[in-house]
Each structure stands twice: as C-alpha cells, then as structure tokens.
C-alpha cells in the first residue's frame, strides 16, 4: 500500500513540463526596422526565410518589406501580383493617411489578403505559405496567400485497387483532398471545419460532414476530443486516430480509413464525419461499424447478386483467417473422430516423419509467413514480389521435405494467410485474434475455441465507436450488413449513424421492367 503511495508522489514531483511557447514579442511596432529585426531574431536567420526590402510610391517616399519562406511560395506569382502593381502606382501615390488599407483595397490583386497585427499570426501565416508585407510607420501588416509548393498529382491509390469505379486517390495536400470531396458532394450543407493540431507541427486538420445528416452528439464528442489533444506533431491520420478513438486497447480498429474519395463521400452521405489530415493521403471516417470493413467500394458498382456471393466469401474468409489454425489443432489433437478415416490415415502418414508437436509446427509456419509478408512490404517494389513468391514456394516445400513440418499444416497456414488478405481493414486485428484463439484451442480443444469465440463476441458487443455500438450491424435490421439489398430499395441509413435516420432520396423507384409492364397492361398493348 505504501509503496504505491510513494510511487505516486515521485511521479508527481518530476512530471515533464508542457511544451514552452517561444514567441515572447506580442504586437508589431510601426517602425519597419524593428519589425524586420524581430522577425529575423525569431526565425534565427534560417536559410530559407527571404526578406525583400523595396521602396514604392511617388519618388519612392515609402519603404516596405516582403517576408516569405522560399519553396513554400510561388515566386512568379509574388512578383506579378504584389511588386508590379506597387511599382505601377509609382507616380500617382502620394501620402495617404491610411496607406495599408489603400494598398489592400486598391493596389493588390491577390484573391486572399488579411490584415494582421501580432507577431504570432504573422509568423504562422508566413510558415503556412503566405507572404507578409510590412510598410514603414504602419503597425499592421498584410498577409497575402501565395501558396505554390510542389504537390503530388492525383494518382491511383496503392492500397485499395479496384476493378470498376473511380481510380482517383487522395494526395498529401489537404486542399486537394477537400476539393476532391467537395467535387463528389456538391451540396451547400457540406461543412468543412478547420483545426490546427500539434504544438510544433501545426498540422491543419479538416472535419467534413453534412449538416442536416450528421449525428450531433458524435460531432460534439469529436470536437471535444480534438480540442484536448496536446501533442508536438501529427504527421499521419493514424496518429490522430490513436488519440481520439474510444478504446485504444482493443484489437479492433474503431475508426475506418480510406484512400478513395468516393468511399469517404459515401460514408459522409450516410451521416459519418470525415477527418482529413494535412500531409497524408489517408482520410479517416468516424464512427465506424464492424461491418464496414467487409464492404468494399466495388460492392456498389458491380452486379447485385455477385455482391451477395462476394460478401459471404469475405465473411467465410474472415472466419477461416481467425479460426482456421485453432480448428485444425483442436481437430487433430482432441477430436480425431471428426476427421474421416482415409483423411486421418493420410494426415498420420504425413506427420509420421515430423518430430515437433503440432502447436510448435503451426507457430513456426505462422511466424515464417509473417516474416515473408513483412519482407514483401519493406523491400522496394520489384524485389518485394520476387521475395514473397520465392519464400512461399521454397520454404513450404523444403520444410515438408526436411520433415520439419507436416504437409497439412502448410496448407492450413497458407489458406489462413491468403484469407486474411481478403479484408484489408481488419488485417491488423486478424493475427492478434488468431494467436488468442490458437492458444485456447491448444489447451482445451473445441471447448477452448468456443470460449475464445464467446470472448471475442462479448468484447465486440461492449465496444462502441464514438457512442455508436460497434457491432450493431448484425443485431439490428440493416439493409447493407450481411447482404446488400438492391440499391433502389436501400432506403434507410444504418441505425445510430444518421441524425434521426433520414430516409435517403429515391426510395420510391420500382424495378423499371415491372413499371413498364404495368403501364402497358393499363393501355392494353400486347407485346
């Protein structure tokens, strides 16, 4: 009891201090020299900060200075839209009492100009890609948006290949991503809220949602959680995910991510909120349901019956991926009766040569498979393909011949490995669950497997993603969970996501073939 208290006190004494705020100067002075001097001291004259002094106005009576970060701005744009208009007014510009306002309204031709009065805003705008215009004896400055840094073009996403459907994927730039979504949903009620997170990185994070459809308390929870993040830098939406998700300890991801705008747009239409993080092509949508990871974008573009089949194949693949090895072990070690006699004899023959117990064999093979998979990803693209193929073939074959591993084990592990690729979103949860159920099955056979299954089910039931029950897809009626009903009759949004379950448009469309026949019957035209 006492050691506990002592530990508590020690922790309180040397708790790490929060990040210190650097900028100590607050308001701009109206003397240009001081301003420039302060800016230089703040930036510590790092190489890419450019300060351009120039004079303008009638017989160069006024003095100004431009401050911008080289590389973040478009130099041609600066000269064309700031310097040349100022120089045009050379002969007509006399002394004006309010010079800054006149420049902002009349002279500058930039689309976006802001007046700033404190150093903090000036600095943060300058680092964001704007140029700052200081004028002598004026205590406010102008921040002009002249962004123009290198951007990656919109290309096909790597992680979600699709046979049919739009191929454009997100890029690292937040503005292109929001524009891609805006192009998908052109309704005025699409709101984009901007947040700046990270003491040092100051990354822009945009919340995108449809005003009349979003679930208000999910929005409230999300906003409060975003505000509470005190962290140095956010480079990837995965990092953000870690901070705002409900239960970071559960193997299940309660926040969905995607690289394709049409998937995020569909989610937003269903009442979810998309979070775009500057600098990463992965956009996360909140709240997530368990069944979402079994839906792929292509389900809605392909034939309806085919999607029935594919959905069932995905669920079966998930079950095989998680319970495959455990079921094999419980069959071979505990309930040999279940295996038909001839198959049992072949398994015994195959295992005659090997010496390890089955659990060790399965762990060896699972471990080998994980190594190959990681190698396949980490190596550069051409090498990666070769390694995974070579690894699979040689290792499997050699292991069996060397008598290290029985042939059936290789087959079982291969099937579970391939099955876990079918559901990309869940590829992080499957290995964890597989090991958990495997251990239970080795020690108690099918009974252990059932206990493992129940444990997973109970955990899933008590999991919520932003207040919305995570596993609700199966238990309550949902037109899109196990099977996808025809698009025309998919009228209701998933429970709990939308504000008050607003019915989607176009719910009154019947099958055209039926409608046309009815029309003809009424008219009495015999085909």
């Amino acid at each position: 009891m006492f050691s506990f208290i002592r530990r508590k006190l020690k922790y309180l004494r040397n708790r790490p201090k929060g990040p210190k705020d650097e900028f100590t100067y607050s308001f701009l002075s109206n003397n240009l020299r001081d301003n420039i001097h302060n800016i230089q001291s703040i930036f510590g004259n790092s190489a890419d900060i450019v300060i351009r002094n120039f004079t303008f106005g009638k017989d160069s009576s006024y003095e100004g200075a431009l401050v911008f970060v080289d590389g973040l701005v478009d130099n041609i744009f600066i000269s064309r839209s700031i310097l040349s208009p100022l120089s045009d007014w050379k002969d007509t510009l006399e002394s004006k009492d309010n010079l800054i306002e006149f420049i902002e309204k009349q002279i500058l031709q930039n689309p976006e100009v802001k007046r700033l009065s404190t150093y903090d805003d000036a600095i943060s705008d300058c680092l964001n890609g704007n140029t700052i215009l200081f004028v002598n004896d004026c205590d406010t400055c102008l921040s002009i948006s002249t962004k123009g840094f290198e951007k990656r073009a919109v290309t096909e996403p790597q992680s979600e290949a699709v046979v049919r459907g739009p191929r454009e994927g997100y890029t690292e730039n937040i503005r292109t991503n929001t524009s891609l979504i805006r192009r998908k949903i052109k309704s005025p009620s699409l709101r984009i809220e901007n947040y700046v997170i990270g003491e040092k990185s100051k990354t822009n994070v945009a919340l995108i949602y449809l005003e009349d459809v979003v679930n208000p308390d999910v929005l409230k929870k999300l906003r409060s959680r975003l505000k509470r993040i005190k962290v140095d830098a956010i480079f990837e939406s995965g990092v953000l995910e870690e901070y705002i998700e409900d239960s970071s300890f559960s193997p299940f991801a309660t926040i969905a991510y995607s690289e394709k705008p049409d998937v995020t747009a569909a989610n937003i239409l269903e009442g979810r909120i998309a979070i775009v993080v500057d600098g990463t092509p992965f956009v996360i949508t909140v709240p997530m349901l368990f069944i979402e990871s079994f839906q792929s974008a292509e389900d809605y573009y392909g034939r309806n019956l085919y999607t029935y089949l594919i959905r069932i194949v995905r669920y079966v693949a998930y079950l095989i991926a998680v319970f495959g090895p455990a079921f094999y072990i419980s069959l071979v070690n505990y309930h040999q009766g279940l295996i038909p006699t001839t198959l049992l004899v072949t398994i015994i023959n195959a295992r005659e040569g090997t010496s390890f117990p089955i659990i060790i064999e399965i762990i060896i093979m699972l471990f080998a498979f994980e190594i190959m998979r990681e190698a396949g990803i980490r190596l550069p693209r051409p090498m990666g393909q070769a390694i995974s193929i070579v690894g699979a073939l040689i290792m499997g074959e050699a292991a069996v011949n060397a008598g290290l591993v029985g042939a059936p084990v290789v087959i079982v592990v291969a099937i579970t490995a391939v099955a876990s690729f079918l559901i990309p979103n869940q590829s992080e949860t499957i290995p964890v669950l597989r090991i958990f159920v495997l251990i239970l099955a080795t020690f108690a056979g099918l009974f252990g497997l059932v206990i493992g299954l129940l444990a997973i089910l109970i955990h899933l039931a008590s999991l919520t993603s932003f207040g919305v029950p995570y596993f609700s897809g199966f238990t309550r009626y949902n037109q899109d969970s196990i099977i996808r009903t025809q698009l025309k009759s998919m009228t209701k949004r998933p429970e709990g996501i939308a504000k008050n379950n607003i019915v989607r448009r176009g719910s009154n469309m019947k099958n055209y073939s039926i409608k046309e026949n009815e029309a003809e019957d009424r008219v009495g035209v015999q085909i």
Partner: protein, 368 residues
C-alpha cells in the same frame, strides 16, 4: 453498472426466453427414464399447464412495472420478512446455476474432453460468464437472436440428417403408463425448463415494453421455446426408440447416429458445440440474476464488484455438491420438482393475489 439504466428491447427479451428454453432442450434426460416413449406427450401437457402461469408472470410484471421480483417481495412483506424470503430465492437461484453448470460440464466431459479435471471446465465457463455479466445486460442479450437462429438451425438440420433412421413406430404406444408417471413427468418439466422462466421476472424491469407487449412477448417466447423443446424430444424418441430411457444425454446419442456419406459421420461434436454456447448463454443469465438478487438484498448501487466472488462460490459449490450424473438426475427428478415449483409458480401467484387483494401497486407516477 447500476441495475436500472441498461434498457433492452422487448424483442430481445423474447429471443432470450426462447434461447433459455432451447438451451435446456438437450437435458431431457430428466423425463426420459420416467415416461419412456411418451415423453413427447408429457412435454405438450406440461406446456399447456404452464400457459396460465405465463400470463400470471405477465400480470405480475405489468402490476409492478419498474420493480423486479426481489423488490416486489420486499415491498409486500416489509424489509425483514421480505429479506428472509429473498435469501431463500437467492439460494434457489444459486442452486439453479449450479445445476446448469454441472450439466454443462457433464456434456463437455462426455462428448469432448473426457479426462480434463472438473474444475478447469467450470472455471472457464465461470470466467466467460463473469466477463459477460460484468459488461451489463445489453451485452448479455445482444446475441440472443443469433443464438435462437443457430439453435433452431441445428434442430432442423439434425432432423433432416436423421431422416433415414427415424421410425414413426417408436412414438407409440400412447397412454400406456400409469397416471402417476405422467403427473411426475409434468411436474418435473414445469420445474426444470419452464419453471426457470421465473428468472425473467428479475430482468423484466430493464425491458422497454408496454402492457400488451409483455404478454405477447412472454407467451410467444415460451411457446416457441417449448415447441423447439418438443421437436428435440420427438426427434430423440423417434430415433432411439426403446433405448431413449437408457442414456444420460439422448440427444448426444441421436447426433452420433448421423451418417450421410462416408465422410460426414461422427460429427456430433459440431452440434454439441452449438448447444454448449446456448448453455453458456443460459448460465450467464442465471449468473446475472443471482448477482442482481444479492445486490438487491444488500441494496448495493453497483453490482459489478461482487460478480467474481459469487462466481468463486458457484465454482467450488458446483464441484462439491454433485457427486455424479446419476445422483444429479435423481435429485432433479424427485427432489427438484417439489421445492422449485413452489418457488417458481406457487409463490409468485401468492404475490399476485396479495397485491390484488390489498391493491398494492408500484407507486402511480412510476408505472408508466
């Protein structure tokens, strides 16, 4: 987790009743060696006799809308006497849970893990149910719909698979046994599967359903459960015929006779696994109810922290109190009906009568 605030829908209430009775369908060993081939008749009569008490339960739930059984007892009999009666109910719930735990471990021992010691199986079952009970009623009953479909799928599938072995002749002769045997059979059935529905009186306050729906859901649940119980007994008798009375778990033997092609034989374990899931569901509900009664008696706010200690008691008691399956079935056949039926049906009926005579109702503003 306070007791009152988790609300489940009426439909889930019905599904959990069905699941509850289906789970005890595999334990029809109780009546098999009393009314050999006519057990399917006894099931019908038992259900017919049980129907009035279903409506009696419904009436009790409706009269005391937001009060579970223990609160009603305390309200009617006053704090001291009420507590004594609820302690009796607590012992009753403890012994029902122990009964089902021994049944579960017997089934797993005979069909799957013959040599694992008793305590391991009991402990695994207790741990899982404790986790489910700790995470609240909603998590407990959220899967009842899935379990019901699973169970009925199993019953229908097994009938189809056993079609070539079924002999209709085995169902006869009818009414060939002395009347005493029938009465005892009905008495047992009203105690083991049907009487245990008294447990739902404690879950009812957490269910959102109006007056009419209570009757509808309770009756529908009980009748579908009874029908699947009837189907199981019918299947077992028509397959096993004379040997129906011989076995401890007739359904286990019936599943063993499934032989389709050369490969699909000896698959009784797959069926038993699903029935074990159902039994674990039933034990988790009984466990939840026991913990609720304990917290009601000592009126604790949160019941989460006493779950594991009750589990510990259950675990060790389940091992010590039942010697072997024969003594267990004998106790169920002769001892249980008398004791349990009084607590399950006669006592709530007395509660209802007293509350009608003295017109005690839960206070006006509460009963919506």
């Amino acid at each position: 987790m306070t007791i009152a605030e988790t609300k489940i829908s009426g439909r889930q209430f019905m599904y959990s009743i069905i699941c509850f009775i289906q789970a005890s369908a595999i334990l029809n060993a109780f009546i098999s060696n009393i009314t050999y081939q006519e057990s399917w008749l006894v099931v019908i009569f038992a259900f017919i006799i049980f129907i009035p008490s279903v409506f009696m339960y419904g009436a009790l739930i409706n009269r005391f809308k937001d009060k579970n059984l223990i609160q009603i007892v305390i309200q009617i009999f006053g704090p001291i006497l009420g507590r004594i009666i609820s302690v009796i109910y607590l012992i009753f719930f403890l012994s029902i849970t122990m009964f089902n735990i021994t049944d579960l471990t017997d089934i797993t021992k005979t069909s799957m893990l013959p040599t694992t010691p008793y305590i391991i199986l009991v402990m695994m079952c207790i741990l899982i149910t404790a986790w489910a009970v700790r995470s609240g009623l909603r998590v407990l009953t959220i899967y009842s719909k899935m379990y019901v479909f699973l169970a009925s799928f199993i019953i229908i599938l097994s009938i189809i698979f056993l079609f070539n072995v079924i002999e209709i002749g085995n169902l006869f002769p009818i009414f060939s046994l002395p009347l005493k045997k029938y009465v005892q059979g009905i008495h047992i059935l009203n105690a083991i599967p049907f009487g245990e529905l008294v447990v739902f009186l404690l879950i009812a306050p957490n269910v959102q359903m109006n007056k009419k729906q209570t009757y509808k859901y309770f009756f529908l649940g009980a009748s579908i459960g009874a029908f699947s119980f009837f189907l199981t007994v019918l299947r077992d008798i028509s397959v096993l015929g004379e040997t129906f009375g011989m076995f401890v778990f007739p359904s286990l033997v019936a599943f063993r006779l499934i032989r389709i092609t050369e490969a699909i034989t000896r698959i009784e374990i797959l069926f038993i696994v699903i029935l074990i899931i159902l039994l674990i569901f039933k034990i988790s509900i009984l466990y939840y109810v026991t913990v609720i009664t304990v917290s009601q008696i000592f009126n604790l706010k949160k019941y989460k922290n006493i779950v594991l200690s009750v589990g510990f008691f259950l675990m060790t008691a389940a091992i010590v109190l039942s010697a072997n399956s024969i003594q267990h079935t004998l106790a169920a056949q002769n001892g249980a009906p008398f004791i349990w039926v009084t607590l399950q049906i006669i006592f709530p009926f007395i509660l209802l009568l007293i509350s009608l005579i003295f017109n005690i109702k839960s206070p006006k503003e509460e009963s919506k």
